[in-house]
Amino acid sequence: MIKITNESFDLEKEFKFVSSDINGAYSFFLGTVRSDLSSLNKKIKGIYLECYEELALAQLKKIRSKALYNWKLNECLIIHRIGKLDLGEKIVLVITASSHRTNAIEACEFVIDSLKIDVAFWKFHLLNDDTKEMVSQKNLDNEKMLKWKDIIN
């Protein structure tokens, strides 16, 4: 399942969607709005998430298919929020379900790493003075993605 939404979500409910007796292992990645921004001395009060929805859905679908295929997953759920989010709010959830834990864990990391550099979302910090500031892409995220190139088809 793939969902782009401006509403929050409940982890237990989302787990129920992918839950099945054939799985023994689930790996979750949950990203939230963090107040502590090491690179800035500014305080933020939240974020704003912009999205090219048609494209993002197509890109997420592709990433999900790769994860399902390469790690023989039984299920993979991806939810991404859009719009205005307060500090601490959930931004993104990935759940991978497999018979084996190593597959679930690796695939989950692949999905979030891919999402960070390949899906049409843009983040802005909402500052305390009511201005918006664009968040820059991290070199580290691009470098980290390279490690998957040899692993996946």
């Binding site: 990203g31 998430l49 912009e50 999205c51 090219y52 048609e54 494209l55 993002a56 197509a58 991404h80 931004i91 993104v92 979030i112 999402l115 960070k116 550099i117 390949d118 899906v119 049409a120 979302f121 843009w122 983040k123 918006k132 664009m134 968040v135 820059s136 892409q137």
Partner: protein
């Protein structure tokens, strides 16, 4: 023919709009379109000089400037993404 342009992130902010509907002659290619846009608004010069900006035509990435556009095409201007 008509082409829709979609702007995201700093490009949207800079242009102060999220999209444009523009009329082009038949057989216009991406390069012609870029030149036309620069004439219309010099901000486009800055956009086109930024190597990190990607162009998606009908949801597929495009980097061939000689690609001919068609009526109804949707061309999106994408700065580096920062989701997750």
């Amino acid at each position: 023919m008509n082409i829709t342009l979609k702007y995201f992130s700093w490009i949207r902010v800079k242009l102060k709009k999220s999209h444009d509907l523009i009329e082009l002659n038949q057989k216009t290619n991406l390069k012609d379109l870029k030149n036309k846009l620069i004439l219309k608004d010099p901000i486009f010069q800055e956009i086109f000089e930024d190597d990190s900006v990607k162009y998606f035509l009908n949801l597929k990435e495009i980097d061939d400037e000689n690609h001919t556009l068609n009526n109804g095409d949707i061309l999106a201007f994408l700065p580096p993404v920062t989701g997750g």
